[in-house]
Structure formats: structure tokens, C-alpha cells
């Protein structure tokens, strides 16, 4: 079969009946006749409406919108996106303020929720619905309709072949019908011929596929609105509860309300990383992360569980994901009278693969001055040839913490110093570190050093680990998965189930020999059509032979 198109137009729409409810520029739709162009109906308002609707639901528009969507998705992959890479966006804004202003105007940092991107896919889906609804109705009708009349000249159709038999016409047609039925054709007798059609599943699959696309979009759009995601850093030995106040950051969906949070608690008992130690090419590469947690759901006994990468923990309709980890050294600060005024873990931000990390410690109260400390933690400290320290392995083998100390105004009152991961030194003065008289403090676990100016002392008490957990509640997940599976099933049926019509006609000549004609017509791509006709003809003749002989 070289081309369904040419065979359709050649065999004539009288046979295929065209596909009236497919878009008029669909391959299988009846060819527009010149007259229809001349006798344009007068276009009233309704006429214009219908005209635009037909344009929007045409194959050409669908194709155009699909390709436009592909192109429109490109900018979002070139420019950092607020949702997936917020820090990238900040960096971009700092580096290229002018371009960033233009990009902001076109919402490029938010490409996938921008007005223009949304319009394209919404138009596409309107077109899709407008296209699929009439086809669905048509398909329901077709499911109940009789297979079409046998064409007068089968010899002009595909796979045309003949066989002869001694059986009479009635027996021949009867057995052909039985055989067609056993091959799941729907059949209809027309005189000395049988007309059969199969493969309605192809169209069903196509409709299911397109409908499931709408299903995916709608469930993502609506279901996602009821969900939320929250991020929380938890240090070994500490716990957090699933409540708004305890999250470091929280993104509610559009329809979120507070009572959606089920107040369970999660305590991090320990975090156990495993690092490669044998393979010389990969020393220190992480090969396993396990967070051992104790969870308490309201009214239940506490339970011990694990969270790993790729193995989130399900808890009360939420999933907890292990997305990051690092060290949170416990620093103890004492005043001049040796009274502990500060002692708590500080999660440090890793900056390299060996977990070299930056630590910011702010002590606002209890000393004569507010102090801020900028620390570098090296879990396994090594010395570079330049003399600088570096971390050479991510586990705690020989940890060193260096601290530069500042005194002055931390800016906490005017809101400037509120970011826990940065230290604004504008109104601070360095009292220990590179740009001061006193040297940078250098501590190993258990060490205690005096702060300059008799302020007090600082001790590196211990180095527990922290994990960053993401808590997600997404009610759309399951329905989206179901629609995706429908979509996939629909796609396969629609592409691989052959839809074809087959005809068998019989005539007897004067000598009593019956000639049987077989032919078929593909609807849509059908690679095996000709083989199928020949195969059917062989099976049929064999069946007839058995009948005649018995």
C-alpha cells in the first residue's frame, strides 16, 4: 500500500463516505469541490463565528499550534526559571540587569506560566476539544451503522485477488461471513457479497488519547491547586512538625487552606551517608544517603522509618523527600563571665562536592556587642599548595572550622540581616580575620578559643549533620498517572490497530464454478493490508474445500 491518500480519492468517497466530522482539511475528508468555493454562503455573525470555529478546529491550526508550542518552550530552557532555578534568576538579574528587564517584560523567567505560553496551549486545547467532541459523536454513530455497500468493481481496490471454488454462491458467502466474524469484523450481506469492517478501536484509541490529554491538563491545573510543598532543614536529634510555622519555606497551591496540614512530627535520629573509598577515580563520591527518622502521626505510636533518595516516605497523604544534606556544627558562645549565651547547631551551605561549607552565625544578644561570624567548615581538612585550607573528603575525618568574627550592628532590626545564610557586613567591623589584627579563629571539635576584645569565648562543641526535606502534598498525582496511562494505551491502539474494510463477492458461471473476489480498503496507515486479504482468501478457500469434500 503506497498511499492511503491516493487510494481513497481514487476509490472514491462514495466508498469511504468521507469522514464528514473530521476537520475538513484532514487527509480522509472529502475533497472540497470547486462549486463549494463559488457558492459561499452569506456570512452573518453566526456565519463568521462558524467560520472561525472551523478554522480553529482544523488540522492546520492544530498543527500550527503544536509547532508553535514547541518553539515557545525553547526560551524557558535557555534562561533560568523562577520555579526551577530561583538562584539562577537572581544571578542573571545581577549580571545582566538590562536584558533581565526585557525578559521580565515578556515573562521569560516564568515562561511556562506566562500569558503567551498559556494562550498557546489553551488555544490548542480548545481546538482539541472542538475537534474531538464531534468526532466522538460521529464515532458512536459509526459503531451502530452497517458496513457500507459493496463497491461495484472490487478489482479497483487494494489487495484485490480471486479464488475459485466448487461450492455454490450461498455457501461461499455464508462461510466468508463466518470467517470474517471470527476475525472480529462486523459484517453485512449485500446480494451475493459480504461487506465487513473492523478496527473501530483505532478511532476509539485516538479519541481516548486526545481526551486523556485534556484530562492530564485539567488534573494538573486543578488538582495541583489543592496541594502544597514545604521545605525544612532538620538537624540530627531535632524534630519538626507539619505546620505552617515550622517550615523554612512553603508554597501553597491556589486552593490551599491551613487545615489541609496534618500535624505529624518527624524527628531526625541520624543521617548516614556512604562515600566511595575504594575506586581511585571516585574517592569521596556519595553512593548512599539514609535518613533514619521517627515519625509521630496524631494518635499513633511513634514509628521508625527511613528516607532515601529515590525512596520518599509517605506520611498522612504527604511525601517526604530527602533532597540535600550537610553539616550543622554546634557553636557555643560564652560571655566574659563564662556564662553560655548561645549554643545551637548552625546548618552550613555546602559549596563543593567534598562538603566544604559556609557557616553564618549571628549572636544578637548577651554580649556587649552584637557579633556575627563567617565560618568555613572543612569536614576533612587538607592544605592546598597555596597554603589555603580545602576539604578533601566529605566525611568527618579531620574537621576544621575557621571563623572570622565581626562586631557591630547585625541589622536584624531593620530587616537587612534576616537571611540566615548571608551576613551583611555594612555596619559590622571585623575583629578577627584577614582584615583585622587578630587572626581567623581555627577550631577542631572540642576546641574553645577566646574572642578578641575580651568579649568572651567560642567553642566548637560538636558537628551533627542536617538534611533538607521537601514535604509535598499533591492530590493530582494519581489522576495524572491514570490519565497518562489512558493516553499511552489510546496512543498504541490508535497507531497500531488496523482499521480496514473487506469485501467478498461471489459469482457462478455456467459450468458451476464459483469465482470469489476479495478486496479491501485501508482507513489510515495499514501496512499489512494486502497480506491480510491474501491470507483471508487462502483461509477461506481452504475452508470451502473442506466443506465441499465433507
Amino acid at each position: 500500500m503506497a498511499s492511503t491518500h491516493s487510494s481513497d480519492s481514487e476509490a472514491g468517497d462514495s466508498v469511504t463516505g468521507g469522514d464528514a466530522t473530521r476537520p475538513s482539511d484532514h487527509m480522509d475528508a472529502p475533497t472540497p469541490t470547486p462549486e463549494s468555493k463559488i457558492t459561499q454562503p452569506k456570512l452573518g455573525l453566526a456565519g463568521y463565528g462558524r467560520f472561525f470555529w472551523r478554522q480553529l478546529t482544523s488540522m492546520r491550526t492544530a498543527l500550527f499550534l503544536l509547532l508553535l508550542l514547541a518553539v515557545a518552550a525553547i526560551p524557558g530552557s535557555l534562561v533560568p526559571q523562577i520555579t526551577s532555578d530561583p538562584n539562577g534568576v537572581i544571578a542573571y538579574r545581577n549580571n545582566y540587569p538590562d536584558t533581565a528587564a526585557i525578559l521580565d517584560f515578556f515573562q521569560v523567567f516564568n515562561t511556562y506560566s506566562s500569558v503567551w505560553f498559556s494562550s498557546i496551549y489553551l488555544l490548542l486545547f480548545i481546538s482539541l476539544i472542538g475537534c474531538v467532541l464531534p468526532r466522538t459523536k460521529h464515532h458512536f454513530d459509526a459503531l451502530r451503522a452497517r458496513p457500507p455497500k459493496t463497491p461495484a468493481r472490487l478489482s479497483r481496490l487494494q489487495g484485490f485477488t480471486t479464488r475459485t471454488t466448487e461450492a455454490d454462491v450461498a455457501t461461499t458467502i455464508d462461510s466468508a461471513r463466518g470467517l470474517l466474524r471470527s476475525q472480529r469484523y462486523r459484517t453485512e450481506l449485500y446480494g451475493d457479497s459480504v461487506s465487513a469492517e473492523r478496527g473501530y478501536l483505532r478511532e476509539t484509541g485516538n479519541l481516548v488519547f486526545h481526551a486523556a490529554l485534556v484530562g492530564v491538563l485539567v488534573t494538573v491545573g486543578i488538582g495541583g491547586g489543592f496541594g502544597y510543598t514545604g521545605q525544612r532543614v532538620v538537624v540530627e536529634g531535632y524534630a519538626f512538625s507539619n505546620s505552617l510555622a515550622s517550615y523554612d519555606s512553603f508554597n501553597p497551591g491556589r486552593f490551599f487552606s491551613d487545615d489541609a496540614l496534618d500535624p505529624y512530627t518527624v524527628a531526625l535520629d541520624s543521617f548516614e551517608p556512604v562515600y566511595e573509598i575504594e575506586n581511585q577515580q571516585a574517592i569521596g563520591q556519595a553512593i548512599d544517603f539514609t535518613a533514619n527518622v521517627t515519625t509521630t502521626v496524631r494518635g499513633d505510636e511513634p514509628q521508625q522509618s527511613q528516607i532515601k533518595v529515590n525512596e520518599p516516605l509517605s506520611l498522612s497523604g504527604t511525601n517526604l523527600y530527602l533532597l540535600g544534606n550537610g553539616y550543622a556544627p554546634v557553636i557555643t558562645v560564652r560571655d566574659a563571665d563564662d556564662k553560655v549565651i548561645w549554643s545551637q547547631p548552625t546548618p552550613c551551605l555546602p559549596f563543593d562536592a567534598n562538603l566544604g561549607s559556609t557557616c553564618i552565625i549571628k549572636v544578637p544578644d548577651g554580649l556587649d556587642q552584637q557579633i556575627g561570624m563567617l565560618g568555613f567548615l572543612y569536614p576533612t581538612a587538607g592544605t592546598l599548595s597555596s597554603g589555603a585550607l580545602a576539604s578533601v573528603y566529605p566525611d568527618l575525618v579531620s574537621p576544621v572550622l575557621t571563623l572570622e568574627v565581626y562586631e557591630g550592628d547585625l541589622g536584624l532590626d531593620n530587616g537587612q540581616g534576616t537571611n540566615a545564610y548571608s551576613l551583611n557586613t555594612d555596619s559590622l567591623e571585623q575583629i578577627a580575620g584577614r582584615s583585622s589584627d587578630a587572626e581567623t579563629l581555627r577550631l577542631t571539635p572540642g576546641d574553645r578559643l577566646e574572642l578578641p576584645n575580651g568579649l568572651g569565648s567560642v567553642e566548637l562543641t560538636s558537628i551533627p549533620r542536617f538534611v533538607s526535606l521537601d514535604v509535598h502534598h499533591d492530590p493530582s498525582q494519581l489522576p495524572v498517572l491514570l490519565f497518562a496511562m489512558l493516553l499511552f494505551g489510546g496512543l498504541i491502539t490508535s497507531l497500531f490497530v488496523p482499521r480496514r474494510r473487506m469485501w467478498v463477492a461471489a459469482t457462478t458461471d455456467a459450468s458451476g464454478v464459483t469465482t470469489v473476489e476479495y478486496a479491501a480498503l485501508a482507513r489510515g496507515d495499514d501496512p499489512n493490508l494486502e497480506a491480510a486479504v491474501a491470507d483471508f482468501a487462502d483461509k477461506h478457500s481452504q475452508q470451502l474445500r473442506v466443506r465441499v469434500e465433507s
Binding site: D25, I74, S84, R156, V309, P312, A531
Partner: protein
């Protein structure tokens, strides 16, 4: 032990590349031979000299122009004739390709055994395995259709990819980072690479289709071997069928990737750069399938879409992996 296996793997790849080179040359010789034969044939205007596939082409042309007499000839039988009459250069080229492919596959296996896991966890390994799959699809497809005329395209492509892979992407065997330790690595990446094989063949067919349709339109093309290849609309049908298989696999890749992303990153879709490009490719091929069903778009225009789609696949694998920032930072480079 690991090192020995890794070096076996490398020896196997380099040998495979050497043999692919000879296969490539023989496929090129075959195209030259086709040119020569077809000009002989036209000079003598004797159909007897035309190759079997030329007959097949004419059958298909007759079929598409509505001829009735030739319609009863089943293409399968002409295909068989083409195989039994296949000329020496083509048979040698195919034999070389099979040998190279066996070496290539053993390189993949050695690498996998050396690493103790599936051999597709960094760019070098993707390249190694995906090209083996592409050539594998090419070889297997021959049982269905005689597409040996794409041999120089496929072996040339494999050679180029392996050359870049071994010289620029090579990394030693290292353990899997926790995010990649998942059954989805096995299935998501494998199916993605397999679909690349189908898209590659379809793109090759579409390129030949474009040349063929220019020739059929009477534009002077000096490539006489085209006479011996199937007609443009036959090429288009074949390209379509391969694309459709690739598209189903790509759809699966997309869905499986979303399921995995939910497990590993906590959300099933986040417009990460790799996700964006997988989506773009999917949309282009959906466009291709629509184009084939749209009046005025069947033919050369849809062929261009198949080529653009494959270009996007290559772009996704090379430029996006190497230069775009995102969560899929597994090139190992």
C-alpha cells in the same frame, strides 16, 4: 578486574569503529555502483538491467498513480527478490556492519560488567549504548524492509558519535550517585535510546525522500543512485511507520521520566531543561503525525518535520547535556 574489563570494552569499541569505517566505505561503494547501474540502465533503456529495488520503486509508483495491473504484485515478494539479487558490495557492507555491531555490543556488555550496573549512566556510556541500539535497530529493521541503502548514513552516524564519545566524553567507571540508583534508570534511559534508533532511521529515510521528490519533480539532481531507491511516497510511508514506533517509545520515556522525577526530585514535572527538550521533541513528532494527516502537509513538509525532530533529539543529547544547567547533570564531565 574492573580495569581489565574496561580496557576490553575500549578495545572492542575501537575495533568496532575500525570495521564500521570499512562498512561505511562499502556502503558508499554500493551507492556509487547504484549510480553506475542506473545510468547503464537508462542508456540501454532495458528494464532487465535495473535492480530489483528499482522494480519495486516502479511498482510503488504505479500503485500510487492508480495503476491496477501491478497492484496484485505484493511488495513482500519484490523485497525478497531484492535480497537474493543483492550485489556483492552491499552484502560485504552488511556483513561488516554485523561484525562491527557484535564487537560494539560486546563493548557495551564489558562496560556494564565492569561497572556492575547498566552501562548508561554518563555521556560516554549513553553514546556507546545508544549508538549500539541505533545500529541494532537498523539491522533488525532489514527483516521487515530492505533499508540497506541507509547503511552509509547509519554507519557514518555511529562512527561520528563513537569518535566524539570516546575522545571527548570518556570517563572512568564510577559508582552511581544516589539519584541514579533506581530501576527507572534501566528502563527510562534504555527506551529513550531505543527510540533514538527509530528516529534516526526515519530521519535518514526522510532525507532520501526529499531528494527523491525533487528528482521526481523533474529537478536535476546528479545523484543517479536515487533511480534504484523506492519512490518518495513509499519512503515517506516507511519513515512514518518507523517514526510512529519511535514516538510511542518517546511517549513512554516522557511518562516514565515523570514518574522517576516524582520519586527522585519530589515532583513529576518541573520544566527542568531536559524535561523541556523532551517535551519539545515529543511535540515536534506529534506535529509530524498531524502533518501526515493534514492536507497540504503530507510529503516534503512532513519530511522536514521528521528531520527537525531528529535534529532536536541530537541537540537534546549533546548541547543540552553539556551546556544547559539543570537537574539532569549526569554527563559525568
Amino acid at each position: 578486574m574492573t580495569e581489565t574489563l574496561v580496557s576490553y570494552s575500549l578495545i572492542a569499541v575501537y575495533s568496532a569503529m575500525a570495521i564500521y569505517t570499512f562498512a561505511f566505505i562499502m556502503f558508499a561503494v554500493d551507492l556509487a555502483r547504484r549510480s553506475a547501474e542506473s545510468s547503464d540502465a537508462s542508456a540501454a533503456s532495458a528494464t532487465g538491467l535495473a535492480t530489483a529495488s528499482a522494480q519495486q520503486a516502479s511498482v510503488m509508483q504505479a500503485a500510487s498513480s492508480g495503476g491496477t495491473a501491478t497492484l496484485t504484485a505484493s511488495p513482500a515478494s519484490t523485497g525478497d527478490a531484492a535480497v537474493s539479487h543483492s550485489p556483492k558490495s552491499l552484502r560485504i557492507a552488511m556483513a561488516l556492519t554485523v561484525i562491527a555491531w557484535v564487537l560494539h555490543v560486546s563493548a557495551v556488555i564489558f562496560r556494564g560488567v565492569a561497572a556492575g550496573r547498566v552501562p548508561w549512566a554518563n555521556m560516554f556510556e549513553f553514546t556507546l549504548t545508544a549508538t549500539a541500539l541505533i545500529v541494532g535497530v537498523f539491522l533488525l529493521v532489514q527483516f521487515w524492509q530492505d533499508l540497506r541503502f541507509l547503511g552509509s548514513f547509519i554507519t557514518g552516524f555511529a562512527l561520528l558519535a563513537l569518535g566524539v564519545g570516546t575522545s571527548s566524553f570518556y570517563v572512568d567507571v564510577v559508582p552511581l550517585p544516589p539519584a541514579l540508583q533506581s530501576a527507572w534508570l534501566v528502563i527510562h534511559v534504555f527506551v529513550a535510546s531505543l527510540s533514538t534508533g527509530f528516529f534516526a532511521l526515519a530521519a535518514g529515510l526522510s532525507v532520501v525522500q526529499l531528494m527523491q521528490s525533487r528528482r521526481e519533480a523533474g529537478k536535476a539532481l546528479k545523484l543517479r543512485f536515487l533511480d534504484t531507491l523506492p519512490a518518495a511516497d513509499r519512503l515517506e510511508t516507511l519513515a512514518y511507520r518507523l517514526t510512529v514506533v519511535g514516538f510511542v517509545m518517546w511517549t513512554f520515556t516522557l511518562i516514565a521520566g515523570a514518574v522517576w522525577a516524582e520519586r527522585a526530585w519530589g515532583r513529576y514535572w518541573g520544566w527542568d531543561t531536559k524535561e523541556v527538550w523532551t517535551f519539545i521533541i515529543w511535540t515536534i513528532y506529534a506535529g509530524y503525525i498531524h502533518a501526515r494527516a493534514t492536507r497540504g502537509w503530507r510529503g516534503s513538509r512532513s519530511a522536514w518535520l521528521a528531520i527537525v525532530g531528529f535534529a532536536a533529539v541530537i541537540f537534546n543529547f549533546t548541547v543540552v547535556n553539556l551546556f544547559f544547567k539543570g537537574l539532569h547533570a549526569y554527563s559525568g564531565l
